[in-house]
């Protein structure tokens, strides 16, 4: 039977891997979004900091809330929370789990770490940013592919599923929040219809644009994009999908009852919105509620499988 500490490491490995990829995606989309927005629209890179609830940490280290500092903070800062530090943690996790993972996984993660460590200035320069970010995303997918195809789909795999889907669900809520917050920002109501642009980028940041069009058969609009990202059963980054995968994984694990019970009490991902105007502060409250739910779920995993001493 899988060691509790190993299970926890696998769970965090998947979470960090997902987080690294999602941060890269977020930066990539923001980069493109800012190029698309007309001049005079006052949207800053600093939104990314707000989105990640990292205002305090940022302010304690930087004065200027400019593009360079935001990217520095998110990508290469020595401080906790940057991609560099996430990769370091990921690497340590894999290093301490080499007994359950294929050696190639370690080599890949190690390469990712070395490339970020050695090329970290690239991400700060606009000209080379695409290549840098794209490299991170590709590495993450390569590692995910290796995990999927070289790890036995036993308990180890179920914990990877739990970590991945929980982190993914969390990031989807954050990206939705990012979209809404841009649109709710004062000054953006003038002139152009931004909602098309913003929701388009929300979809792209989750690689969801194609699936959205095929599934919803609709033009891009706030209510439908949020409905898709909350409720779709088939799209891997939709909350419903992530939730179902978590349930599936939990079913295959030992002593799963308390966790299943918790999962059943929070089984709905519905927010009634009929127009762009409905996606207001109460939608942001709903998003917040979802994030709290995920936190509670995490605590539930922790109590049930990882914190053996208190049992």
């Amino acid at each position: 039977m899988l060691l509790s500490t190993t299970a926890e490491r696998m769970y965090w490995t998947a979470r960090y891997l997902e987080r690294i990829e999602n941060t890269a995606r977020l930066i990539s989309v923001y980069h493109k979004l800012l190029l698309d927005l007309p001049g005079g629209v006052d949207i800053t890179w600093y939104n990314l900091i707000v989105l990640n609830s990292a205002e305090d940490a940022f302010v304690s280290r930087y004065k200027n809330r400019d593009e360079r500092n935001v990217l520095k903070f998110m990508l290469v800062d020595e401080q906790n929370g940057s991609t560099l530090s996430d990769v370091k943690i990921l690497r340590e996790n894999i290093r301490t789990s080499r007994d359950v993972l294929a050696p190639e996984v370690w080599e890949c993660v190690n390469e990712l770490y070395l490339s970020i460590r050695d090329n970290n200035q690239q991400g700060l320069l606009r000209r080379q940013r695409y290549e840098f970010i794209d490299g991170i995303i590709k590495s993450c997918q390569q590692i995910n592919g290796l995990l999927s195809d070289t790890t036995s789909h036993d308990d180890v795999w179920q914990f990877i599923q739990l970590g991945r889907n929980l982190e993914r669900a969390d990031m989807t809520t954050r990206i939705l929040d990012a979209g809404v917050s841009v649109l709710l920002q004062p000054g953006t109501e003038l002139g152009v219809d931004l909602s098309q642009v913003v929701w388009g980028h929300v979809l792209r940041s989750l690689s969801a644009n194609l699936s959205y069009r095929r599934t919803m058969q609709a033009r891009i609009s706030g209510p439908e994009v949020t409905q898709f990202l909350l409720e779709d059963e088939y799209f891997p980054r939709a909350l419903r999908y992530c939730h179902d995968r978590i349930i599936e994984a939990v079913h295959k694990l030992p002593s799963q009852k308390p966790v299943l019970k918790k999962l059943q009490t929070v089984n709905s991902f519905r927010f009634e919105a009929n127009s762009e105007q409905d996606l207001n502060d109460s939608f942001r409250d709903y998003i917040n509620e979802l994030q709290v739910r995920l936190l509670v779920l995490h605590q539930c995993f922790y109590d049930n499988w990882f914190a053996f001493e208190e049992r």
């Binding site: 039977m1 290093r95 070395l114 002593s255």
Partner: protein, 484 residues
Amino acid sequence: MSIDWHDYDAQIFFDELISSPGNARLPARSLTAHLSKLGDDEVQMRRDMAQTTIEQMGVTFTVYTEEGNIDRAWPFDIIPRIISAKQWKVLDLGLQQRLKALNCFIDDVYHDQNIVKDGIFPGHILQDSKNFRPECVGVSPPFGVWANICGTDLVRDDTGKFYVLEDNLRVPSGVAYMLENRSITKRVLPELFENDRILPIGDYPARLFDTLAALSPRKIKNPEIVVLTPGIYNSAYFEHAFLAQQMGVELVEGRDLQVSEDDKVYMRTIGGLERVDVIYRRIDDMFLDPECFEETSVLGVPGLMRAWRAGNVALANAPGAGVADDKVVYAFVPQMIEYYLNEKPIIENVKTWLCDDPEQRAYVLDNLDSLVVKPANESGGYGMLIGPHSTKRQQGDFARLIKAYPRNYIAQPTLKLSVCPTLVDGGRLEPRHLDLRPFILQADDIYVTSGGLTRVAMERGSLVVNSSQGGGSKDTWIVDTEAR
């Protein structure tokens, strides 16, 4: 430009690959011929390739410094060290003989002490031993074997003759690097593996697994085996993880284990507690069990000694095995071989003076400038005096230490350690001193690795091969020339 073997001269030392400038020893001939065909660029390319491979595979070791622990890339020289299979066969037997005798000795020491009663081994040396554990008296580990995993250091003198320098019976490390060195060399010099018959070494993890499984107190099909590591900050952590992975067993830390009231060891899993049968422990005796040894140890498992003494769990190596890992005890191994096995030693010891003996001590004190003085109980090359490389002042310090703690010191002649061509900056070859650590496994069966870990002193003239002190390593090839 390429390598010209006429320019390489090992001078007074025995060279592992070359018998005289321009002439390679038989098992090294295809290697030397191949290397001289490669241009400088090509040699440099292979070196870079080895370096990149090491970084990508993340082959590291941890160095403790004042600023914290640093992970260093494993220092590696691409030119292998080569020994003929014929010669190895003899060493293999010699190493088996030695470990068998050592295990007889340890078992005797914790039971009837016949070797002392028969006047072969002085009793006071045992009483003064830092590594004799009264807690182990009367315990009988499976097969009477206490040291299941042994790393024995071999050196060669200027005639090429092999000697045993020391036996590491506590928690010997290095075997993962031996295996990684081979996989690096296969990537870097693949051509040579096609033509030469180089004995494979890859079966070590499977042999280790079999050795550990044989120790299980429960005779079941799949005993639960774990590798117990002090954790990520240990200098050999890489190896602990590597071996656990290769054997397909759990890598655990002390906090993953517990001893319950039934005196059995359990590990904490996602499904609850699960019984553990065999622990390959990479933690020193003193940290194994805070109930029994070092009270403040957080690395160990409270109650582990209780469970072991009750026969409910096997520990490899057994606690107390280190009693034979003492340079004073070492001096008696040839007598042990005769006493327990009634055989002549196949591999000789290096001549050793015991400072404990008044006559021998007097000789040592008179010859500090030419001898190597070693503490009886340290490993890693720490606390040594290398006479010819020392100052008068250092010699004076050691003279005082020896007089104060004679039991703690031994002396050996400064060996003219053998050398092997090694690439230095600029792509030139220079001779560098080296030793060899084969690994021997004993449970119901006994097994010796084909070759071992070759460690090289990377500095010109240096005799210190320990990786913690600037040593590097090489792949070790046992080449069967007769099969060609």
